[in-house]
Symmetry: D3
Subunit: 309 residues, 6 copies
């Protein structure tokens, strides 16, 4: 799963490329069938995992049946799970379930992105031991799926509903993604608590973002004011990226960094304020095409820390 492309100069163009790859019609049909098959295969595996766990652990079987094993598809399972997690006394689970299911059903690309996100967590996070674990327990995964639905509502001009959903996700998961933000597929929000992603932010494909990361704005002016994250980036825990800056494809932002200006493709920015490892003249441009997938957070230590023990 290589990064889907490189970050372009124009964020508009970039987001177009990321989200609307042109295809011939027949290719699209083939691709749709392949996506359906992939989703079906994954769903079969998830049910097998859940069935195994239900047999091993009767105390969890009721939970596994209600969330996974009683459902006929991945979309129904996620809609049920999100509906029950995000409901409140004033926003009933039945209403949310209906909303999620209708939205997932109406646009298969959402389901395909879900599949890519599940694979991302399974491959990249060594603590992720099964797909069902991610589906059930990963609040970053669940927050992203809820975001995909609220983003769809936003594009349909159903803003108040999108914002209500956004608010529930922020309350329940402590993950705050504005419904207007555009997010690619194959995304891992690891741990996820405290992630904030602003209204005009754009995130490419195959990106990994750790907890407490901010993709924030610069002030009270409207307009395009949030970061653009290229394909394959890795953003470390607690990193703060502010303003309409570009983080080039395959770039890495170290944990705790504060980034206010562009980071070139495949460069590594660290520190507060951030500087480029290797210097601005010779930023890393190494062989690591996709740190969002390779997930190497700390190999730059020797060039950066000022003490050795």
């Amino acid at each position: 799963m290589p990064p889907a492309g490189k970050l372009q100069n124009s964020p508009e163009k970039q987001s177009n490329e990321i989200f609307q790859p042109s295809e011939s019609e027949s290719a699209a049909a083939i691709s749709a069938a392949a996506a359906d098959a992939e989703a079906a295969g994954l769903w079969t595996q998830i049910k097998a995992e859940a069935r195994h766990d239900a047999e091993e652990e009767p105390a969890l079987a009721s939970y596994l049946y209600s969330t996974i094993l009683s459902h006929s598809s991945l979309e129904r399972s996620i809609s049920f799970h999100l509906g029950n997690k995000l409901c409140s006394s004033t926003l009933l689970s039945t209403l949310l379930y209906d909303l999620f299911l209708n939205t997932f059903t109406s646009d298969p690309s959402l389901r395909n992105a879900t599949v890519a996100d599940l694979r991302a967590a399974r491959v990249r996070d060594p603590a992720c031991i099964s797909f069902s674990q991610c589906l059930l327990n990963y609040k970053g995964f669940l927050a992203i799926q809820a975001h995909r639905v609220s983003h769809k509502l936003w594009t349909q001009s159903r803003k108040p509903l999108a914002l209500a959903l956004h608010s529930r996700v922020s309350d329940v998961f402590a993950v705050d993604i504005h419904p207007a933000a555009k997010i690619g597929r194959g995304i891992l929000l690891d741990h996820a608590t405290g992630v904030v992603i602003g209204e005009t932010a754009v995130i490419g494909n195959n990106v990994s973002i750790l907890h407490h990361v901010t993709l924030g704005g610069t002030g009270k002016a409207c307009g395009d004011r949030h970061p653009k994250i290229g394909d394959g980036c890795l953003i470390g825990a607690g990193a703060t990226i502010l303003g309409n800056v570009k983080i080039g494809c395959g770039a890495k932002v170290g944990a705790g960094s504060v980034v206010l200006i562009d980071v070139p493709p495949r460069a590594t920015a660290v520190g507060n304020p951030a500087r480029l490892v290797g210097g601005k003249e010779k930023p890393r441009n190494d062989d690591e095409e996709c740190p969002g997938e390779s997930m190497d957070h700390t190999s730059f230590i020797s060039e950066w820390s000022d003490y050795i023990i």
Copy 2:
């Protein structure tokens, strides 16, 4: 809405000035009538917004009627909304509703501060498209209103109840404001997740604080040990301010900064450890009277970051 005053040397005196401006009695009466009128006008607008949204989006109408349109006043609406958001199986919504409503009704200054907070969000946050959106969805706004009630309880020596409420706000909104902290009006807690404000902290009027900000203590000694934030300050995302330090009126603390000593009025502190933009000899003392309102997070970049692309 200019900042209400400048930060004084003595925090006690300061908090007095901020929270208890002396007025002649007749002026107070006029002011009370004006505040009532402003609140009534705002409430009318909120209901109009909610009615519009209910007509456009039937799926949300039930929510909008239960939280806003069925209520006769802003206080009742907020009390209902907070009661339902903060309740648990052991702290029932009816109990909390009663508590909020009685407290708001007994002290009109709480309602007036609520009005100022609503205006702050609407004016300063470009993603805030209506007052009703803030009232319903902004956990920073809701956490502040719940804090005003728990602070009132604290001043009435109802500490266990104040702390129980504090705990619910920390669970539900991931916003942790000690009931004893003194907070002015016109406050924006943007995104809000992870904000921590300690027991002896004082925050002036018209302050904007981003998510993950800590106003923390210095150790295990009791006494006055938390920051004092002057009117009109802007505290960036993830900033950590520790100890009984003064952040002068109109000062700015950059995202991710760690501040352990005073910041002069209208100065900008950035970095970890923080330094003053322009240096300690020539800290910014520019024309930006109230960054808490102008919300410019990043104009100091050119003086600070060490690489340009």
Copy 3:
């Protein structure tokens, strides 16, 4: 309550020492009886506090009776409280209550650690005015107790159940501790929101950790990849420690620090990237044996900050 020992070279050995101190059988019996007596005494005090508060504040009495006063032991009270806080529509409170109670009952060392944690909060946090306040309201305390149970399940190879519990704690308290992480006793997670502790992390006894602290991994490789925190350490708010690094006994990590390499015992690391106060040649090795208990967050300021006002 002095720190229980010094950090050893081998994390395996260290964890052995911390968690499995060898004792003769009779000493163990004496120690068990003493622990029971201490727990009973503490429980008596907690009930007295709750009874006092119930009398003073009728609005809270129902809550205090259901969570504390109706129970016959500390274990039952905590099991009830956690069961009701962590339940969801798909994981019922009765199931969780049963699980907590059975686990606490089956292993007295959990209860003893709970007692030590309660004492830690009461002694170290000046805002903690009673044991009952900690038991009821401190999400850091509650998250740790839930972790002790999920860790026990993990060691019994009941991984799916442990992970489901882990997920609920992350949702409800925004505290994310992997069930496999090994954690000592006398731990204070102050404020706690946003704490992330990875799978192979080890934390000694009498450690204090502030909110937003990350003990994270370094990438996608499996194996031992998270920090080892020695006895008596103090980790400041927002500190990020990544990789299989050792933070020596009695060391201090300043707020907002980013630490990627070992910190020697009783040294203080600050900044992003972290450096040692006093330099790597002369790291602090002062008289402060246990900053995790003395909780001095800022006395190093004069050696660190670059401006004075």
Copy 4:
């Protein structure tokens, strides 16, 4: 507590007399003060009972505090209790609590009737051992109080709300009293399950009605079509009274009777179809002025049953 008057020929007149006794203004003031004093005294007693029970039975203390001991008045306690019993996922407890409290507060006669009903249960039901037991546990008592509120709403032309409340009472208590039915004070609905009282029914004061009793209509024609029950009547379990018939003051209807025509004052009707004990020429006209209070269900046996053992 003698019966408040005798059944009149005209049901309209009767209901006027029963519900709107004319009083001079000063007498009304005295009476209001006396009613307040009586209610206050009763409330004091209820709290004393609940406090005693809470001390004896810690497992119940939380319930007793939330329903009784945390409230400042009988009206608040009942409003809380009914709000929590009658709420559903689509009719929230806070809404119902507000509705009950506002209605009770706006019309003191409701509270006075509540007091009379509590006394009726305490005096007439040998299984009723305290006022608090009735307040908490008697679904007949609670259904009547909810009816008083829905009846008030009905008279204010808030019919849909009155009917929604009616429906909740029918679901929760299996007691079905049309909101338009006029019911006096000092009413005991003993056991109460299955009671059905139609739209144009009128019930006087000091009446006792057992479970499964029907005061039903005669067909699909609109208009006055339900029974009128005079003061002091006793209607036995499972009795069915249909049509616009008059049950005279002090009359008794035996268990299981089916009554389709008038029953004279102080007569006893038994059987299916009902006949008068003593015959229609010499119906009982004995000394028992108020069987609704004396509660003698079976003394007529010797005149009725056809076998002796």
Copy 5:
């Protein structure tokens, strides 16, 4: 709406006729289109009623939007309403909603019967002032609709699920209809509390049944052992009909009657034990074709009661 046919000798044949009228295919298509149109028209009217009530009564608007106005069809509204009313902590509303919606969607005859039942309540019950009132508040109506779904499940051999639903209806509405019972359309269960209908009971079209009615069995033998109620019957409150007896089309059973043997068509049975009004030689065979619709409960009084006042 005349009764659909007369009771036949063979109950098997009868039920066939009632439930499976043969139609030519084209007639069926016309009939299906007409049924759709009727349902659409009724749904339009229900929404208009609910909208009117929501405008008049803001306190109820949230309820009306969530139950009626937010839905796109009668089936969705009923599925939502039943799902929320019948759910429990172990049978979630989302599961029930899904089950109801799928069943209603899969078999339009259920929806058509619902329409007939709504009309029956509106026409026959003078206390029924709107269709929306019946849809929202009539537990008899709701219990019948839930029965139609559980009966469908029963016929699909999904017996445990059918019985679980049956149990919830019995708990929530106190209406106990075995899933195997066959029930026609245009049914009014007035008040409904306490109705019990056994496994092999059959009820024709346009029948009205009052509360506390039992259609019960005769013992512990399996097989066909419950009553068969012909079209157009009226069964009065508290009537008990036991055994495989036939109540002929257009017959009437008086309130409180106990019927253990057949009742001829258009006869009236009253009393305990029941006898026929007019005698067994001359049972009523009058012009009242369909007492289930004319709802005359008491016109036989003069022939029955033994006293006149």
Copy 6:
């Protein structure tokens, strides 16, 4: 399972005999072991039934696992099920679960009675197709089990708690059994809705009682005032038995009967007022030893009804 004995003259004596059969110690031990074995066997069968149903019907599997399959014993399963069914917002499920489990565990005779009740339903009710169906769905069975616990509490002088439980059962199941009533084992409450059993009632073993049956009192005098039902009786639907009367062992009371005086052993009483089938001189004294088990409701018809068709 023959009836345990005949009704005695003295109800005190009778109840002693029924509930406390004297046994030698060794016999008791044998009997206890046999009872344990029987319960274990039944529990194995219930789990097998539930497992089969869970496999056949995934939509119900979650319910079956949470209520049955996740539990280690019949007592735990029932305690969980009752705790979740009877809980309310003010009486939490965890509290009730604890109460049920502790009570069942403390007195094995309760569990043994439960086993006998399960067998009674399975054998006598032709609609009962499995033990698990009874355990999950039969409100009569569940109400009896809850009664056994509240009766135990009553005998321990925990009256307020017993009455609170009693009230919940009356709300949830519409079954109203006073906690003081003494009830034997092998009881079937068929359909159960509306059953009312008063404070001093006593019911022997192997009794079957249909819905709407009242065992009521005679007035407001305290003391022994409710019926005594001998072993093996069958009480038909809607029967009303009032006063301290004896229904002899093996007697039958017809549906809808009103009984105010004693019924001899093995006699059949029918009608309102009741008379004895065969006359008081020759009451049935036939071979039917235990109609409570043979469940023949209607074989007396030919002697009773006054018309034949």
